[in-house]
Point group: C2
Chain length 330, copies 2
DNA sequence: TCCCTTCGTGCAACCGCTTGCACAAATCAT
DNA sequence: ATGATTTGTGCAAGCGGTTGCACGAAGGGA
């Protein structure tokens, strides 16, 4: 049916192993032979069967990216999508495919399946999957966690942005701008990165501590903000767990005629493209998702190639100052 | 090294072909034998090598989703991510992997590579890739276009939402609400779906025609809106090509103190989660991305399984009425 | 009871490529 | 010039499954 390495070999008048060597460049081949092989490949429009190649070499040539999203919302999550873009770019540069799978436990996205059935040569995992049981099944199979695992973090490889530092920066900036009663709004309190952000908030905050965790939705952030802002002596600033929470907060402020940034200052994590189009524009803790994805992929490939030991990479965040914290009119 | 089908066969006291048949359920096997095989598999923690399986069966067990995104922005595009979520779900239900690749022309994302090297059994393509040259190389390889191709649309399989109908609905709604001078804002004029939306706008619009194409960015929509709204006799309503354009428009309205919905009505395509948190909330033409992804995947699998002929599926859109078009106070 | 199906399983040839080993030819050192 | 290397290529055994064919055993009909 399809043209195989043998067809090429026959046409070029050499053995198939020679063709294989030409393709892989793994041996010294006479320029003349090489040229004949290339000519034959061109003439026959030969494309090596990657399946056969993988089987023989024992390498699938793919990496898997596992997500743990219940709904489309989480999947289309800006953070994840941007990182994925960078991961794909790195993989492509190395000739690897990227397989995505949702649901670490479900049959299809099963981590064990992916590795034991040789579907991938390495995995990028969400922090939620890191548990002693995983460590046992995964053995020395190459993987990198995108985010900080809640446990076993020193025994795993991971790449994450420094959430604590980001929150501290946010709080300090608000304090500098004259806000004194700073609250933290949004985020599942169980999620590791939220916890770390809250800790950072607590460490930098010198005023009253108010942690307003939500269920992670914009709606819930809105409701929470609404009830808090109705009370007298409410916070005069908020560090939001993400842009979604900030949108909810902004809506609450509008409805209650609470002026931002005069009455309330806002800093939000993440840098959605729309954060510049709110009223007022949002000051944000920017996460370099491109760098995050790139570093994650690079670390994974390092581990795939030479089984390097575990390694942790912490990326710092950047504060982008915009109108939502400009208390004093300029 | 790894445990193979032969190890299982030996332990179960049968031939490896029997084990294969048990795994694939492709033949009648004595319950007793079957049980012994399962027991052996369990005992040895056997996982079939998917690579070997693919090679022997000639099926990779994966589908490829090609994207054509220059920057992370387009990749993290809400529309694409949501559809991808649904595609992945369908694939997983059928035991297929999903490989994503960016850049139809680049080496890694090369459509030809994907199919000729047997990396995937089918492809989901962006409409921009549909050209006569592609048709030639792709032959009868199963693929489905996610979106409407600009050319050859009757000779390809595709799934799309009805953009023309959506725009017509938007215009009619605006007219019903009393707006008379309706403009179309945003979108690359070269992009097929924008063209179709504009055509729908033109068909339903009974007033003056104003098409304000942009470069697709929020910033450009903002600038365009700003200059248009400064003129007297400016449009009293806009159909926006997407939520991003609407955000730009809203910002321009705010700055110029143009009241929405009193002075200007807005309908935008897409239903970002944040469209409910703008001021005022946006009336939108909702695209069922989950359905889109699902239908696309289903059609692809249908084509993979029985080489069904080309087929086109057009999904209708829904208008979600919100405050941005509520001209008369309720 | 005897012949004809149907059923359950084994045999062995692939699927298309990689790679260790072998060996002739070419290159080098002395 | 000659033995020791190095270089280029072929041979064939895998990699771990799938599957058409064959055949004995079991089941069915008359």
């Amino acid at each position: 049916m399809a043209v195989t390495i043998h067809d090429v070999a026959k046409l070029a008048g050499v053995n198939s192993s020679t063709v294989s060597r030409v393709i892989n460049g793994k041996a010294t081949i006479t320029p003349d032979t090489k040229e004949r092989v290339y000519a034959a490949m061109r003439e026959l429009d030969y494309h090596p069967n990657s399946l056969a190649r993988s089987l023989a070499s024992g390498l699938s040539g793919a990496i898997g990216v596992i997500v743990d999203a219940r709904d489309a919302e989480a999947f289309s999550n800006w953070f994840f999508a941007r990182s994925l873009f960078a991961i794909e770019r790195e993989a492509q540069a190395r000739g690897y495919q990227v397989i995505i799978a949702n649901g670490a436990q479900s049959k299809g996205g099963n981590i064990e399946t992916m590795m034991k059935e040789h579907k991938v040569d390495g995995l990028i995992l969400p922090p939620t999957t890191v548990k002693p049981s995983l460590m046992k099944t995964i053995g020395d199979f190459p993987y990198v966690v995108l985010g900080t695992p809640d446990t076993l973090s020193s025994q795993t490889s991971w790449v994450d942005n420094n959430n604590g530092q980001g929150a501290e920066m946010a709080v300090r900036h608000l304090q500098e701008m004259g806000y004194q009663n700073i609250a933290y709004l949004g985020g599942h309190e169980k999620r590791g990165f939220t916890k770390r952000r809250i800790r950072g908030y607590q460490q930098a905050n010198t005023g009253k501590e108010t942690v307003l965790a939500t269920d992670g939705t914009t709606e819930n952030a809105y409701e929470t903000a609404l009830s808090v802002l109705k009370k007298t002596g409410h916070p005069d600033a908020f560090v939001c767990n993400d842009n979604l929470a900030a949108f909810g907060l902004l809506k609450a402020c509008r409805e209650l005629r609470v002026h931002v940034p005069r009455d309330v200052g806002i800093v939000a994590f993440d840098n959605y493209p729309l954060a510049e189009y709110t009223d007022p524009q949002l000051t944000i803790v920017d996460i370099d998702t491109a760098m995050l994805g790139e570093q994650t992929a690079q670390l994974l490939f390092k581990r795939i190639e030479n089984r390097a030991g575990n390694q942790q990479i912490m990326l710092s965040t950047t504060l982008v100052k915009r109108a939502s914290t400009e208390r004093k009119a300029r």
